[in-house]
């Protein structure tokens, strides 16, 4: 990224933070949280930072205009201690990450490849450069289709958290990550102290890992209806879905055991909530700060109210910037939708785009700023 592009980003980011700083409210109590920042492109994370007040935090952001802002899921006694164990973890929110990348593949038309070695590029997903053979850098745009699949997963997660884990809706906050995923933060008193091991169990529950299939299989093979089993929780959900799919219990009785097992495994695949396990297990995780800009796209990590979830449109509702026309030199860009409009495809051309789309292209590394 050229210096001028970086300056352009910083200017746009500044405008956003200046106008929206009051929306950046870290979870309470702010004094016990660790913060982390990416301040410059290509530099490591600046972490172990802490703040005494919301004012200090806001001041820091407006002075530094970070590219990315993170806050710990955990509360610490000494959050700025550089030694992880010396931080003294008190407790931590439950933090779930649904990565669109791992629930659905992005299509060729929504991707581009760039060879840094010989400066070739094109649309599509190519691992090696066709002219020099070097490994390419793949750029995946934010895909609406992919995000929709991730959103369904998020709804599944929320359903299980409510029904099975008894998490009250007011203790659950759902976010679009600003790029290719959704986050769910759970701040419910009795769950704050669940240890790493306990979190692993929660993950296994959501991913339906380690399920005792034998018991279910035996019930199914005997053709027991749902009224006849005293199953609860995820087992019940799996059982019901198998019955539903089979149509009748009689059919199951006469099917081969392997057939029923296959079916069962298929249902588990369908019902499991595809969260990223590592994120939840690691209590020291930093979470992207709500309402902050995600520098992989220039969109914000946006809070979504539970009732708005089914109709949420990430590519319209997470836009952070205005629509002043901005000149860009675009290397390559597949056709993309943003802010209700469609742009591109572009190749080796200078174009005028509204600021939000220009930021997006620059953040994705597909073009450089060329003045206003």
């Amino acid at each position: 990224m050229l210096q001028t592009s970086l300056e352009f980003l910083k200017r746009e980011f500044f405008k956003y933070y200046y106008e929206n700083i009051s929306r950046l409210v870290p979870p309470e109590p702010i004094r016990s949280r660790e913060f982390g920042f990416f301040l410059e492109k290509g530099k490591g994370m600046f972490r172990h930072k802490c703040f005494n007040s919301l004012r200090d935090f806001h001041e820091f952001i407006l002075n530094e205009i970070p590219l990315d802002i993170y806050v710990s899921a955990a509360n610490y006694e000494d959050p700025c201690n550089r030694d992880m164990s010396e931080k003294k973890l008190v407790n931590a929110e439950l933090f779930f990450d649904i990565d669109a990348e791992s629930v659905a593949a992005v299509s060729e038309e929504e991707s581009a490849w760039i060879c840094q070695k010989c400066n070739q590029y094109g649309i599509g997903l190519r691992d090696g450069c066709p002219s020099c053979g070097a490994p390419t850098e793949l750029v995946r745009l934010v895909s609406e289709k992919q995000l929709n699949v991730a959103l369904r997963e998020t709804e599944k997660l929320i359903h299980v958290l409510r029904e099975d884990f008894g998490i009250a809706p007011e203790n659950m906050r759902v976010f679009y990550s600003g790029n290719r995923g959704y986050h769910v933060h759970v701040n419910q008193e009795d769950f704050l102290n669940v240890t790493g091991e306990g979190r692993r169990e929660i993950i296994d529950y959501l991913l339906i890992q380690g399920l005792d299939e034998k018991e279910l299989l035996n019930f199914l093979k005997r053709g027991v209806s749902i009224g006849g089993v005293s199953l609860k929780g995820v087992k019940r959900r799996v059982y019901m879905r198998v019955l539903e799919k089979a149509g009748s219990v009689e059919k199951l009785k006469t099917s081969k055991r392997e057939t029923v097992l296959k079916m069962l495994e298929g249902i588990v695949e369908e019902l499991k909530v595809r969260i990223d396990p590592v994120v939840t297990i690691d209590m020291h995780r930093l979470m992207r700060m709500p309402e902050s800009i995600n520098s992989s796209s220039g969109m914000v990590k946006r809070r979504i109210r539970l009732e708005d979830l089914p109709s949420f449109k990430p590519l319209e509702e997470a836009i952070a910037f205005g629509d002043e026309e901005t000149c860009l030199k675009v290397k390559i860009a597949p056709r993309f939708r943003l802010g209700g409009r469609t742009f591109g495809p572009f190749k080796d051309e200078e174009v005028e785009l509204p600021a939000y789309a220009a930021v997006y292209i620059v953040c994705k590394g597909l073009g450089e700023y060329a003045g206003r």
Partner: protein, 342 residues
């Protein structure tokens, strides 16, 4: 006055009411313990610890219960003795013995008493119908994670609206863990200030004597040395295996899961197992991959907890084990993310 409650307090001396009874009726300072003819209580205390070391269970007979003052007093004294011995293995074994005894006794209790003990030990619990009790999920996770059997996994449990339902026996098992935690934490507390009476010293020596006859390898006080990355229990198995000794199935599971947890690669682990007398490449490869979650449904097996190691006779702790519940936490002096026992 000898009501049901007093008997209960004698049978479960870790209950707060026992403490209340003692503090209301008896002076528990060391000097006065020496004076007030508490010899009988001291004797019983020694028996408690010996029971734990020999039978891995502290037994309480009906006669012990009738002798309720002695019985109640013997518990805090036993804790003092164990603290004085200052050995991690004795601490852990004593806690296990007390909790096992309590578990056994709890199985014969009415729903009411069982729930009462659960309540007092912070396990909570709601009786749903005659046979099921439900416990809050976070409490369940805190207590059940140390059990290895698949049916304890949350995914296999009746989970609903924030609770896990279970039968009485399983509920008693959860309380047992909390009793174990409570007793263990108590033994970590420093011995009450004041000169320790000679009778107590003699009692502690007696216990050490019994124990060294039982466990020759363990009874030497481990000198404080540089901490290694591998906890002593696992280091010991590894060394034995390196010498070509045949390890049990469980010991192999421990070593393999430990190496997997420390991100050693599969080939390295198989290579390590190749020194075993009955080594077969394909079998070992299959087993290790299974444990690593590469085969068999992708479930990754975890390293057994300290509890499980102890019950399998494989715990050889040193001072860096203090307070930890899992071998992977070895040497982490601050276990702040483990919620403290109330």
């Amino acid at each position: 006055m000898m009501s049901e409650n007093v008997l209960r307090a004698a049978r479960y001396p870790f209950l707060p009411e026992t403490r209340e009874f003692i503090s209301r009726n008896i002076d528990l300072s060391l000097e006065s313990l020496e004076k007030t003819g508490s010899e009988a209580a001291l004797k019983r205390a020694v028996e408690r610890v010996k029971n734990a070391l020999i039978f891995k269970e502290v037994k309480v007979t009906a006669l012990d219960e009738l002798n309720y003052v002695r019985e109640m007093l013997s518990f805090p004294i036993a804790i003092i003795l164990v603290s004085m011995i200052m050995n991690e293995y004795v601490r852990r074994m004593y806690a296990l013995g007390e909790s096992r005894g309590a578990y056994r006794r709890m199985l014969n209790e009415s729903d009411e008493t069982l729930l009462y003990i659960g309540e007092k030990m912070g396990v909570g619990g709601v009786l749903d119908d005659e046979n099921t009790i439900r416990v809050k999920i976070p409490t369940y996770l805190k207590l059940a994670y140390s059990f290895h059997a698949p049916h304890w996994k949350l995914v296999n449990r009746a989970v609903n609206n924030g609770y896990v339902s279970m039968g009485k026996t399983e509920y008693a098992r959860l309380i047992q863990v909390e009793v174990n935690n409570y007793v263990y934490e108590k033994t970590l507390e420093p011995v009450p200030a004041g000169a320790v009476p000679d009778s107590f010293r003699r009692a502690a020596d007696e216990i050490v004597g019994v124990w060294s006859r039982l466990e020759t390898g363990k009874a030497s006080r481990v000198p404080l040395r540089e901490r290694e990355d591998t906890p002593p229990c696992i280091g010991r198995i590894i060394r034995r295996m390196e010498n070509g000794e045949n390890a049990s199935h469980f010991e192999r599971l421990v070593v393999a899961t430990f190496m997997i947890a420390r991100s050693r690669n599969i080939d390295e682990i198989i290579e390590f197992f190749s020194k075993q007398p009955d080594y077969k490449y394909s079998v070992t490869k299959y087993q290790v991959e299974h444990l690593a979650g590469i085969r068999g449904g992708g479930k990754k097996y975890s390293v057994p907890s300290c509890r499980t190691m102890l019950t399998n006779g494989l715990c050889y702790p040193d001072e860096y084990c203090k307070g930890i519940k899992h071998p992977l936490r070895y040497g982490e002096k601050n276990v702040a993310d483990e919620p403290r026992v109330p």
